[in-house]
């Protein structure tokens, strides 16, 4: 754990303690600090912007409600992410059952990336216009397609694989943290992650070939 992480942990611990004592402002600081990451994890796992908003909100609410049960054996953010991940996976399963998952490419094979852009996953048009894209429509479209393909491929994976890829490759967490969040041994993280990457590689083969 680096000094910054250690410092964060101290801060988190102090804020958690204050929250337990009824200091709502302390909890607000925690929310403020983690809202982006929690939302992103929810979004990447459940694949739906508005649901991710609900899930992030519910994550924090549950964290607040159950903060008394947080024993401090792991880092607060690990505990928080565990809630977020569990809620998101659960929601995703429900959504799939209801067939309302709306950010997948449609049956006609549309991979324009548009839904992804809505969710902030694709290339925002603002970025197209002002970002480092040389302003070439072909580049814009290509990049948009790539991101859309990645997002769509993520959606194709099963929940376990998707979650582990999100935690590792999108969130950049180390294996130990992922193991704590998923409550599995580190060895399982390693093998599951590898399988997920192989699956992802297969799904992205057309894109990879195009890039090459």
């Amino acid at each position: 754990m680096g000094p910054r992480a250690a410092n964060n942990r101290l801060n988190d611990d102090a804020l958690v303690s204050k929250t337990r004592e009824g200091d709502v402002q302390a909890f607000e600081q925690l929310v403020c600090h983690y809202q982006d990451r929690v939302f992103q994890v929810c979004l990447r796992i459940c694949g739906h912007y508005e649901s991710a908003r609900d899930l992030a909100q519910e994550t924090f609410l549950r964290a607040y409600t159950h903060i008394g049960t947080f024993e401090g054996k792991c880092r607060f953010y690990t505990w928080l992410f565990r809630i977020a991940v569990n809620l998101s996976i659960s929601h995703r399963r429900t959504s799939l059952r209801l067939q309302v998952h709306s950010f997948q490419p449609d049956e006609s094979g549309n991979d324009s990336g548009y839904p992804a852009s809505m969710a902030g996953q694709g290339l925002r048009l603002n970025e197209m216009m002002h970002g480092n894209n040389n302003g070439q429509p072909s580049d814009i479209v290509r990049r948009q397609e790539t991101r859309a393909a990645v997002t769509a491929a993520l959606g194709e994976l099963d929940s376990d694989q998707r979650t582990i890829l999100v935690l590792r490759d999108v969130e950049g967490m180390d294996y130990q943290a992922i193991a704590e969040i998923l409550n599995v041994p580190v060895g399982t993280v390693r093998s599951r992650l590898h399988r997920a990457r192989l699956a992802m590689r297969e799904l992205l083969k057309p894109v990879l070939e195009k890039v090459v």
Partner: protein, 533 residues
Amino acid sequence: MSGDKLQDYSELLSAYLDNELDAAERTRVEALLDREPAAVRLLSELRETHEMLQNLPEVSAPPGLLEDVMARVERQALLGEQNDEPQKTPVRIRWGPIRAAAAVIVIVGGAGAWMMYQSAKMEKRIAYVQITPLEKRSAPESPAVDVPEKKASAPRAGDALVELRPGSVKQELETKSGKFGAAKTSPPADLVTESIEEKQSAAKEESTGLDRMSKAPRKSADNEKLQQHDYEIASEKAKTGQTVELGMTGRETAGESQTEITQPMGEEGASVEALVQADFQNEPVELTLRFSNTQDRDDFSQQTLTYLSANQMLNIADPSQREQVKEPLNQSVFVPGSTGVNNVDSNSRQFLVWAPPEELVKLVDYSVHEAGQLTNAPSVSLRVGELRTEGVEQTRSVAQLLEKPDWQQQLIRSQQVLAQRRTAGTARVEGGITQEREKSASPTSQEQGSEPSESYSKTADSRGAMIAGHYRTPTVPLSLNEGATVQRQVEPFSPQGIWGQVWNVQQELFEMTLSASPPPNYLPFVLNLRVDE
């Protein structure tokens, strides 16, 4: 190396990529990489996959998430609910289920709808959307000034009110006769009586142009009455045929104090998904966004333009670009409307797009959600089944199109003309606006010994002015009216002014724009971008 062996090692490769190996494992993997090209290849592919995921843009939490969380936390804190049983995860009901709910409502009638409404837990915000399905235009009506009525009028057949409640567990749909079937809802009689004054108050505000709920704080903490109040106002608007803005309105209750909330759509923008998936696939659509400032409007306008281009909803004129188009070019027509040129209401900008229904749905979807990403998100209203303008001046191009009694036939005819021209190879692609400022010596003035006058030669088309002149995106080749070029001398001292004359040129070009008529079944979509400062 055998496949099995690589398989044995491949997990290590993945961990190697993540720098999660101990020293011994690392040494083994590096030795493997030194001697096995297949391992190097696999590592490279894993790395590429990893980088693709890593390169997904970071997503920020939606605006207002913190506030919403804290509102609920504070409520819990006040009520001493900490450590209660976990709440059920909210599952947002989407359009499909809403429609299913609508069917149920239709069956059981208003009482059922009201009970559903009552059963929903009030959230601090509430959004109302009115979708007004009208008969598809068989014959165009005059689009002449059609200012939205502020006074109450009789309900219009086909009105439907969709009520979205972002962040809440339930969304309900109230329908009256029309698209979603016939049902009539009514609140309990005693509550109706109780809220008449409030309704009148709300109606009064609406009549003064305030499209929002009463600002007067209410002392009652009775949530049911508050819900009912919101409900009645929305119902009243629906009954009077008013478009209820898709903005957030509601009130926040903290203890005894209540704060009225009105805010433009924004943080809940994505919840409008249900709206944009509405069944307007066979009807024209008009989407109006009201921005708080010109910059936002212009930025959004620019984004929309790019979106249209990226999605090939504009004809792409450059042959090199055409090669990249997989499908036959959509014949969508893009008409930028008034751009502050000779325009009574320069705060408005209007796009007219012809598109296949599915693309149109995407465009609406895109517009609503992108708007929701803005810091000062605009309010949004959607009309379905009718293209209405609020004033000829601000929407001249569209208005001119629609006021033609046989506009559809005209489009078809001119499409045929264009096809002939293409076949004959005479169609040309022109774009952009050029302005040549020449000092030409007028013989007359020279004879009279006067100074040479300046004359302006302008080449403009109604799309080119937008692209090249305003947006400076010359690398996006677009064509609205292939072969349409009009050159006119522009008199510098004309009472119309220079831009007034350019506008006239644009109007001429617009006539030619009709040549880019849509294929059958394409639908018109009007996007109004307004600034309400």
